[in-house]
Every structure is written in structure tokens, then in C-alpha cells.
Symmetry: C2
Subunit: 196 residues, 2 copies
DNA sequence: GTCCTTTCCTAGACTTCCTAGGTAAAAGCC
DNA sequence: GGCTTTTACCTAGGAAGTCTAGGAAAGGAC
């Protein structure tokens, strides 16, 4: 038997994320990954439980990487500047790492989410960004959900070719950010923070 | 040999959509569907070319059904009322038909989209809804993209358990619609239709 | 060095996808 | 009605992917 490939769960996960970026997350298979790593498919089960476990690991890894990039982009910014930086970093990650991005969108067990540093960091970053708009707690939740929905939706349609009109997509995204800022500045609620 | 099951491509597609609503679109298989219909898996290839063809057929069917429901909801409405009706019908469809909804979101060949009555109808309905805001053509495209992104993103997170906070999701959606209306009424652009 | 752990392998069972060819149900024609 | 043609169903089987079990040997600990 030849020397061991020196695999670890971490290395397997990174290789899977790289492969997913190349072929698409949906097309990621244990057997394909094994070929990529130069081992037999059965060998990977020393490091991962099954395909679902592999997918979850990629999701956790990708979420952490994405949070790091968003964090770097919004550092030192507030208000509309932070919103725009967050949004652009979000979309940039999705465009550059389509497989990783798709992984961030799968449903995960609550325990996995709770233990994922990337998920927690994303929450913190989002909370920090939204703070400048001085919304009531309940409105902050609503607003964050609106932002996350828009960012994901946009990236989804961009990735799946859903934007068929000839209109420049970069321009549409810039307008969307402007529009979201307008909405946040004029949040349709009567209990803005600090106002009784 | 026993009597034929009397399958047609249409019947196969509907059965697939129903099954997808029950088990999830991602879990839809030719073999599973064959079991559902009481035939052998190989028999289905008289009616569909392959799994990708089946998925595309479900997508086209679901898009048409969804467009019908949105169309019925917005009939006779304009402005914010139409926006709200559209949004609620969209989300209702996604919640009631998770498999069908997921099918509407897959990337399809441009020829398939071009030939799909549901896609065309969705475009018309969206155009009609956005008309009340009297935006310039370019801004209309941007605004439609924002709306579609938000609706899809919201439905996606709702379906994948991405909204972890205890805040009522119905309320968040209602607020999101209000916020989108505010954004549309105050679209961040200087060339509103009719204004030089 | 020895002993223990664990990573790799082979083997194989199972599922899914899909093609090829055959049979008989169903449709079409007279 | 009978006869012919079409085609929807079947069986058979190969390819690919998933995953378990057990064994061999690489690598780590002492």
C-alpha cells in the first residue's frame, strides 16, 4: 500500500468546497471528491460520516469565509456606507464562489448552526450594520430579514440566469442598495428607537 | 401483460409535481415517481427524456400554476394593493407547494423559458403591478429585480428554516411589503417618468 | 524495538439512471 | 369485424454513486 494521502476532515472539506466552486454544489459527490483527492471513495468515510455530513461541513466552512469577507468590507463603516459594503461583499462572494455560496444556503440542523462561528459572526455583522438606522428591536428583525432576502434573491437570480433583460446587473444591484437604504431610512413603523 | 397505466407526459409531470410537494423537489427521482405511478422506472422514458427533462417539465407546470394564482390575486388591484396581493400570493404558493415552488427556481434553457406561458404571464403580471409607480423603463427593470429578489429570498429562508429569531414571520413579511412600497414610492432615481 | 490506532484499501450490497430490445395493448385502417 | 401498425409497457443489464464491513499496513505512542 502506498503512503497515506494525509487527509483530514478539514482538508477534505476544503477540497470539496473548491470542487463545488468548479462544478456546482449540487453536483458534488463523494466519489467525485475521492477522484479529486487521489483516493478511493470508501476512504473518505474515515473523515466524513456521509454525503450530508460533507455538505454540512462545506456549508459551515463557506459561511465562515463569507462572514470574514463581509466583516473586512464593512470594517470602519456605518450607515449607507456599511450597507453598500455589506451588500457588495455578499454578492462578490456569491459570484466568485458559486459552489461555496450555494452551500451557505442549505438547511442545516439547529445544533450545527448554533456551533458555527460563521453564522454567529454573520449575525453580529448584520446587527452592527442595521444599528445605524436606529430601528426598534422588532423592526430590526424585520429589516434584517428584508435585507437577507434581497441579497440572497439577487444572487440566486444572477447565478441561475434569471435576469433576462439586457439591463446591466451591476447597475440594478446599486439601485437596489439605494432603494433598501431609502426603505430603512423611512421604515414603515411608528416605534422608531428613541421615539415614544 | 396487464392493461396499460394510461400515462401521458402531462400526467407524469403532474404526478411528479405532487410528489415533489410531498418529499421536496431535490429528492424527486425517476425511480421514486415510477413507484408512485405503479410502473417500472424504465417505463417513464416513453414520456420523458431523462430526469433533467422531468425537472424542466415540473418547472414549467409550476410556473404556470403560480402565475395563475398570482394573476387571480392581483386582478382589479393597483398600487400598494396590487403589490401586497402579488407578494402574498407568491408566498402562499411557496408555502403550500414547496416542491413546485422550488421547481420554479431552477435554471432553464432559454428556449424552454421562451416557450413557457407561465413565464410570459409572470412577466406581464409583474409589469402590470409595477406600472402604478410610474418609473422610467430602466428603473422598472431595477425595481422588478428588487421585488423578485426579495420575494424569492424570503420564501427561500422561510422554507429552509433560515429565520431563527422568534419574531412572527407573517408580520415580517407584511413589514417587508410596506418597506418595498416605500422604496418604490421614493425610488432613488432622478428620471421618474414624466419628470424631466 | 513493540503495541496500538487509524487511514487507507478491497469487496460487495444497494439504489438510481438510462439504454436496448421484445411483447402485447391500443390505435388506425379497411 | 379482422388485420396491420404504433407504441407503451416490460425485462435485462451496464454505469455510476452511496455506504458498510473487514483487513492490511502506515503512522504514532511508549
Amino acid at each position: 500500500m502506498t503512503p497515506r494521502a494525509g487527509l483530514t476532515a478539514d482538508r477534505v472539506t476544503r477540497a470539496a468546497a473548491d470542487l463545488a466552486d468548479r462544478i456546482g454544489f449540487a453536483a458534488l459527490t463523494v466519489s467525485g471528491l475521492a477522484r479529486e483527492l487521489g483516493v478511493r471513495d470508501a476512504s473518505l468515510y474515515s473523515h466524513i460520516r456521509n454525503l450530508a455530513d460533507l455538505r454540512a461541513r462545506v456549508a459551515v466552512l463557506a459561511t465562515a469565509e463569507m462572514a470574514d469577507q463581509i466583516g473586512a468590507a464593512v470594517a470602519g463603516r456605518a450607515g449607507k456606507e456599511a450597507l453598500a459594503a455589506f451588500a457588495h461583499a455578499y454578492r462578490r462572494f456569491a459570484v466568485r464562489h458559486p459552489g461555496r455560496y450555494a452551500a451557505t444556503q442549505i438547511a442545516l440542523d439547529p445544533e450545527v448552526v448554533a456551533a458555527s462561528p460563521g453564522h454567529r459572526r454573520t449575525l453580529e455583522l448584520t446587527g452592527g450594520m442595521i444599528r445605524a438606522y436606529r430601528l426598534a428591536e422588532r423592526d430590526q428583525v424585520d429589516a434584517v430579514r428584508l435585507l437577507r432576502s434581497t441579497f440572497h434573491g439577487f444572487s440566486h437570480f444572477e447565478a441561475t440566469g434569471g435576469f433576462l433583460h439586457g439591463r446591466d446587473v451591476d447597475a440594478s444591484f446599486a439601485r437596489a442598495i439605494d432603494a433598501l437604504h431609502v426603505a430603512l431610512e423611512n421604515w414603515p413603523s411608528h416605534d422608531k428607537e428613541g421615539t415614544p
